[in-house]
């Protein structure tokens, strides 16, 4: 029986972790840690999970501990946010380079300076080239479901890559929604048991993890992550289909919301996709042909699916909640890349918004659609910025 509960997005992720019941969870126990670990620690203290919960002294240590546990053969999960993810940076590459299927929830929050704790995608975007699969979640429900998908995806033998499940800091992580929590047994059946690849604890078959590889083999070894990322796309769809049989939902690389006949499309990720849906509904009632393309998977990036979704529209605005100083905003750059091979490309605009948690309202999104339809936007726009 599924059960609808009023949960914050962070609690929803913790519910997923309770159901997954990972072997090891290593986390830094104070800020920028979120409700995710607070709630999971409750489950642990209440004896509802069998996990080894390791409280470490920094996020660098948290990810290092996860690397050790995962290499040992344990199903390993952690969570962080903001500066915590930044402190993990070095070890993120170790996790992907050693092909360890670690799953991490990230409540996306701003990086210093100035000091800020609110929603912003700069943390995840800073880690986008670290070799992790990156999923983004519109709300708590998607974050909850992405966690289960992530565990299976990470551990697939033809993938074996760590997966980052992103959800908007505060807006989703601390915002209460009605979350459908699926039956424990069904989720346990779905995630199954880990069948680790060459675990260190298999003492009859000893292996060495992380040897030195210089000019001779570093490139060869790193390049193995390229086909693994390709395989991740196929695996994601297959595992998503399996999860659909429990949730009844679809798990695509993107979600196309009213894009079919849309003349103007906004591309967005995480909670702003939800805000945009509300605006699309409102404008559709008035007969405006507008739509939303929500990106669910950012790494590997679904270039051809994005191209297919945007090929017939006239104008596209890409909403980025992060900057890349001196370059195109991260999502905008990827969307631009996706459209290169089209013979007739839509007009494309970059809209950076909401840094440091600055609110984006329905009226802001409506204004973008209005200007987009008339192509009145500049190439690069800053939404809600006083300038």
């Amino acid at each position: 029986m599924s059960n609808v509960k009023a949960l914050t997005g962070g609690e929803a992720v913790a519910e997923a972790m309770r159901q997954i019941n990972p072997d090891v969870v290593a986390a830094y126990p104070i800020t920028p840690q979120t409700i995710i670990m607070q709630k999971f620690a409750d489950f642990h203290a209440d004896g509802l999970v069998d996990s080894e919960l390791v409280r470490v002294e920094s996020e660098h240590s948290a990810m290092s501990c996860c690397v050790g546990a995962s290499a040992g053969g344990a199903r390993t999960i952690t969570a962080t946010a903001s500066a915590g993810l930044a402190l993990m940076w070095e070890i993120l590459g170790v996790a992907s380079g050693l092909r360890l299927p670690i799953v991490m929830a990230v409540a996306n929050r701003a990086l210093s300076a100035p000091i800020n704790i609110h929603c912003d995608h700069s943390d995840a975007m800073g880690a986008r080239d670290s070799g992790w699969i990156m999923l983004f979640s519109e709300g708590g429900q998607e974050a909850y479901e992405n966690m289960m998908l992530a565990v299976r995806l990470a551990e697939r033998k033809d993938v074996l890559l760590p997966v980052m499940v992103n959800l908007d800091g505060f807006i989703t992580s601390h915002g209460v929604e009605n979350i459908t929590v699926y039956d424990d047994d069904k989720i346990k059946g779905f995630v199954g048991e880990i069948s680790a690849n060459k675990p260190l604890l298999d003492i009859k078959n000893p292996v060495t993890y992380g040897p030195l590889q210089l000019q001779d083999y570093y490139f060869e070894t790193r390049s193995q992550q390229i086909p693994a990322m390709e395989n991740a796309k196929k695996a994601y769809l297959e595992i998503g289909k399996e999860l659909s049989s429990i949730t009844g939902k679809e798990y695509g690389f993107v979600e196309k919301y009213q894009t079919e006949d849309a003349k103007a499309i906004i591309v967005a990720m995480n909670s702003t996709a939800g805000t945009t849906k509300a605006v699309v509904d409102k404008l559709r009632e008035k007969g405006k042909k507008v739509g939303l393309l929500k990106i669910r998977m950012f790494r590997p990036f679904p270039y051809s699916e994005v191209m297919e979704a945007l090929q017939n529209t006239k104008a596209v605005a890409v909403l980025d909640r992060a900057l890349s100083f001196g370059a195109n905003a991260p999502l905008f750059g990827e969307i631009k890349n996706s459209l290169y091979e089209l013979k007739k490309r839509p007009a494309l605009f970059s809209c950076v918004y909401g840094l440091g948690g600055k609110n984006i309202y329905e009226s802001d999104v409506e204004e973008v659609f209005k200007k987009l339809s008339k192509k009145e936007l500049g190439l690069i726009n800053y939404i809600g910025l006083r300038e």
Partner: protein, 104 residues
């Protein structure tokens, strides 16, 4: 798959284990560190007093000991040419010679 690939050249990215894993214990024997050497230790057998200082000081443990307890040959597959043996030798019977002299 043996791990010898790791210490040989020219394997493609499809021929090697993922993540650079080494699946064989003691596989460092395949790594011939002698390649690194630019000076080669040459022992003057007549001067050697078999004190074994060079044997215990060798950081690569590559100076052999013979059955009769006397100093044996230096294993050039692994000798990096650090010269510690020549430094510690009390009778100065080990001379470090430019490797180039032997590869002419």
């Amino acid at each position: 798959m043996s791990d010898e690939w790791f210490f040989k050249k020219g394997r493609s990215n499809k021929e090697i284990p993922i993540g650079g894993l080494i699946k064989e214990a003691g596989s460092s024997k395949h790594f011939k560190t002698g390649d690194w050497r630019s000076f080669r230790p040459i022992v003057n057998e007549e001067k050697c007093i078999n004190c074994m200082f060079c044997v215990v000081y060798c950081p690569e443990n590559c100076i052999k000991v013979k059955e009769d307890g006397k100093r044996g040959e230096i294993d050039l597959d692994y000798c990096k040419g650090c010269g510690i043996c020549a430094q510690v030798c009390p009778v100065k019977c080990i001379e470090m010679k430019e490797e180039a002299e032997f590869t002419k």
